[in-house]
Amino acid sequence: MRFSFLSLMRNAMAGQSLWTPQWPQVEPKPFYDAIIVGAGGHGLGAAYYLAKEHGITNVAVLDKGWLGGGNTGRNTTIIRSNYLYDESAGLYDHALKLWESLSQELNYNVMFSQRGVLMLAHTVHDIQVFKRHVYANQRLGIDNEWLTPAEAQAYCPPLNISADARYPVLGAALQRRGGVARHDAVAWGYARAAAERGVDIIQNCAAVSIRRDADGRVAGVDTERGFIGAKKVAVSVAGNTSPLMESAGVRLPLESYPLQALVSEPVKPVMPCVVMSNTVHGYISQSDKGELVIGSGTDQYISYSQRGALHIVEETVAAICELFPTFSRMRMLRNWGGIVDVTPDRSPIVGKTPVPGLYVNCGWGTGGFKATPGSAHVFAHTIARDEPHGLNAPFHLDRFRTGRLIDEAAAAAVAH
């Protein structure tokens, strides 16, 4: 089933009764060429590119819950590529370019909206760090520009730039190509496109452990619904990576933290862009439905509880009210948490593992939604060819042994 003007018209006439399921419910087969564990955007996208670009279609994507129910469906959807280091800028900008044509590619409206991402500077240190980013990005041909407080307010009228604000705005970095997308549609679009090419999407099927054969090579996955054999296994389960990889004997430099977000009641358009403030941990944009979408910082301790503490949200809301006094009377409708897997250098790990046939895509932490198409694309390449794509080669697990880190942590303090 493809969406077109004609199919929309027909269904409009027929009371929306002609739609068919977008992907079939299937039972797992005993053996696959490749199993991808985790049906988030990254895993589903990897399955799609495996089928489309590498002709590997005997593929299953397993999820312990429903597809897109992890961080993909829980994030605040900020998309940008203005990271400091060449390696990061390369990978994230690869993703940003794929975002620009993703709706056409998938015949699925992912509502990618390049409304610009404004990152606020509140301290002298922020100014220095952001300007360094701006110059590093411009050198690579990635758009990022420095705005004065007045220019920032012209771009985002509700922003409070008064000098006596608790967190005065001293300037901002703006990436105009940045923006937001509809998170669910990304998962659904990739799922439908992958299923169309023969990929099995198996929901409610948690991977319990990874099985290896006598030579140490990957043999398949033990799941809640029994053993499923595979030539290759690719793990893409975000916050749940450590326990699953441990079952294959691979210990990782990851810690899993709760990260929260909340949305307000819907109102008329008021926020024209995305605003981020790393210093006060407030991230805000307005969805096309009209809700203010607000992101928080992580809790301080590791957790798998998939909910965070209320005082974290409270601090974020206080900061948002200072930056946007006009939002102080908005009512919040829902808040929730996701579990994000954080690496010591705040850069992801995408590549091979010491176990032959086992691949891992993790460590995207608080900021991997923006990378979804790019990460999926290079991860599929890595799985199909058993060697990394040029863009993810630096993101190898071995960097924690060699010391060749990609230290966005030191560059930005947070990694949204």
């Binding site: 450590s242 430099p253 924690f400 042994r401």
Partner: protein
């Protein structure tokens, strides 16, 4: 928000008085220059990231200022017990 008992102050207090300080009982290499790259990687970066009972350090930053250990269930976030540095927890051994 969770509540944490400081074993030095012997008081149950809100989490905001404390700073989480990561996995507990990670032994510093005794002879640093003799260590391999693999051992350094494990010491500096590899973490158990346990799903379940996790031994971790906390610091009573807005109180006595001291470090101590806790055993916490990372699925429910509930703290089972806290104990002083160099003490053995009631529930078992101090190493992992």
């Amino acid at each position: 928000m969770i509540q944490v008992r400081c074993p030095y102050c012997d008081a149950l207090l809100p989490e905001q008085e404390f700073a989480y300080a990561g996995q507990a009982h990670i032994a510093r290499p005794e002879d640093p220059s003799a260590e391999t790259d693999e051992a350094w990687r494990d010491y500096l970066y590899i973490r158990s990231n346990t799903r379940g009972l996790h031994k971790e350090r906390w610091r009573h930053v807005h109180g006595c200022g001291r470090f101590f250990n806790a055993i916490r269930d990372t699925v429910s976030d509930r703290i089972q017990e806290t104990y002083r540095m160099f003490e053995t927890p009631a529930g078992g051994s101090a190493d992992e």
